[in-house]
Symmetry: C2
Subunit: 184 residues, 2 copies
């Protein structure tokens, strides 16, 4: 039986990304984001949505750059911490012990412990409902060599990241199939 329930947020798996940003003086911050998606393949563009006038949103709006760092499960607790606390009060790099590394193109730092690091330049920001939607073009990307397979592409198993759904962090399980397996 189907049952009507109150419309609310969509219940489906979303990624977790650690978004790095900084103020004009180069003071760094990290915010953990689940509301993010690819939105364009060529050029590569990503969307992040930040609710309200959060500190990180104000930084990104001002500097127009951010890093998007994909965590592995061994730093899950640090990722959670960066989502539950505001960088206005604390220095999250210091508190978590995460290691900052220089970006190639943008001013915000990237996170060493994250196996994939994207550098993004803001191309648009719009307000939709309670969300501030930031669109960033991916201008550079780094990965850990040890998460690549023999073809030089990212191995999902070696990446060992996780998904967020219904306020829980879930491991990725077995691969059911590859896209296109159903045939045309």
């Amino acid at each position: 039986m189907k049952k009507n329930i109150q419309p609310s947020n969509i219940t489906y798996p979303q990624p977790i990304a650690l978004v790095t940003c900084c103020d004009p003086d180069g003071n760094d911050n990290i915010i953990t984001i689940a509301w993010t998606s690819n939105v364009s393949r060529v050029p590569p563009i990503v969307m992040i949505s930040i609710g309200g006038e959060k500190y990180s949103y104000r930084l990104i709006r001002e500097t127009k750059e951010f890093g998007l760092n994909i965590p592995c499960s061994s730093i899950l607790e640090k990722a959670d911490f960066c989502g539950e606390n505001s960088g206005e009060q604390i220095n999250k790099f210091e508190k978590t012990g995460l290691t900052k590394i220089d970006s190639s193109v943008i001013k915000p730092k990237l996170i060493w412990e994250c196996p994939i690091n994207y550098e993004c330049k803001v191309i648009d920001i719009i307000k939709i409902g309670g969300g501030n939607i930031i669109f960033g073009e991916v201008v550079s990307c780094m990965t850990d060599e040890n998460i690549l397979d023999e073809n030089g592409t990212v191995s999902v198993e070696k990446l060992d990241t996780f998904a967020y759904i219904n306020k829980g962090y879930f491991a990725l399980g077995k691969c059911f199939a590859k896209r296109g397996f159903s045939g045309k």
Copy 2:
């Protein structure tokens, strides 16, 4: 060691949603979408990105409504099929055998076999790079009763959905922790 690679799409888990839409005469279609995200909590708003001038994009642009149906793993092959083929050539409900059910508020049908069904009204569409970004407010929601836990909330285990990453469909594995477990 970190290695620079060509900027491309973000490698992280995204959801799979079966988006239902129809033409003004009520001819139904289904498109499978991974590029989707929550973007606003109050009011509840979802984003979907459709690359190029696809048939479903043209339908949604015209009728300003769509259903967002969350699949369970038992219909994965049908979900894949609806992403690999265009509704301009074939009737995807007929081809897949998926069961259409009436919506409460919108004209597009919903999919019976999907344990959660959201009804969305388009509030904005913008073009970013190669993506047509559609924002829909969730105006109604139905779930299968048998995926609810004893508190009446959706059980991720019972929902049995999957995530999409690097062109593969992955099961959700164990729950590592709930949001906030790191403490403040």
